[in-house]
């Protein structure tokens, strides 16, 4: 891939990810996907699916966020260190949410 911009003399650090230049075609595909899913999330909001409505809305938002991170933010092409950093951050965030929620849910136990 893109050997034109790759420094072949760099053999000292094989652990470091190859410098990968994402081509505009990838960006266009991601862009169209994001727009399509924006449309889907608006459309889905007008259909009454009860409890599924917010789940679908958050699910689509998560999907969009993941493809933005993987392709626009190049995480998919990065080294393991970066991938681990990003996923560890989100994991910690989920722990914070989950542990805080346990408090709020248990305070009003049985009185929902």
């Amino acid at each position: 891939m893109s050997s034109e911009y790759h420094d072949p003399a760099n053999v000292n650090n094989p652990e470091h990810a190859d410098h990968h230049i994402v081509q505009p075609g990838t960006y266009i595909a991601v862009y169209i996907t994001l727009l399509v899913f924006t449309g889907i999330t608006v459309g889905a909001a007008f259909i009454d699916l009860h409890i599924l409505n917010p789940i679908i809305a958050v699910g689509i938002a998560c999907f969009k966020a993941v493809i933005v991170m993987l392709f626009f933010m190049h995480v998919i092409y990065q080294s393991k260190l970066i991938k681990l950093t990003v996923s560890a951050g989100f994991f910690t965030f989920l722990i914070l949410i989950a542990m805080t929620l346990t408090d709020y849910i248990s305070r009003a136990w049985g009185r929902w």
Partner: protein
Amino acid sequence: MDNTIVATHDTHAEEHHHSLPQLRHHFETEEQQREAGTFGMWLFLLTEIMFFGGLFFAYLLYRNWYNPAFVAASNQLSIPMGTVNTAILITSGFFMALAVWAAEVRKQSLLVMFLILTTVFGCAFLGVKYFEYKEKWEKHHIPGASFDVSEFINPPVSAKTGKPIEEPLSPDMARKTQIFFVLYFAMTGMHALHMIIGIVLLFWLIARARKGDFSSGYVAPIENFGLYWHFVDIVWIFLFPLLYLINRHPGT
């Protein structure tokens, strides 16, 4: 494939010319420097995720506690404006991604053009936001002493069905719509502040890009700003459905 390229160069003789001037002496290679920069930028973004995460958590709680108020207040927001703004922001992010590509392949004029387009769409987003905020101001839907609950207690009657367009709220619950609007203004306001900071940085990057600072292999500022800009995009990707699309099928 790489070997054939190496063979045409005398790497030892060229070693000193090979590394770009921005390579700091404490990094072994440019790849290492780039990775360290990306790593640092992500650590910063993770603190930002925690910051916005607190607001999202407050939203999660109050939406469950005062669900009828959140439904009624959310339906006050304009879906066309929100949807158009989402598309505008995604377009801005798309041009930012292309700007990173233009910097990587060292096309200076394309880089400047993409950065300008990123700025234009970023400003357009804030412009639409201004009209949304203005409407809230006019309808007294800004939390505080002059907040008006009348529309939530006595929703306007639809001419077609002869029934109120919205489920009327008790005065007590109607006051809770203020919590929705507090979160709406806090979250979209914080998001807008990040956009304003980003646009200021974009002006600086455009000025430097025009001087050719980023078209000789030095892409770190463009790339790291791109990470920031896409992060701001992601925040909006969550804000839009959570604030605008809570319950858009009243009466069913």
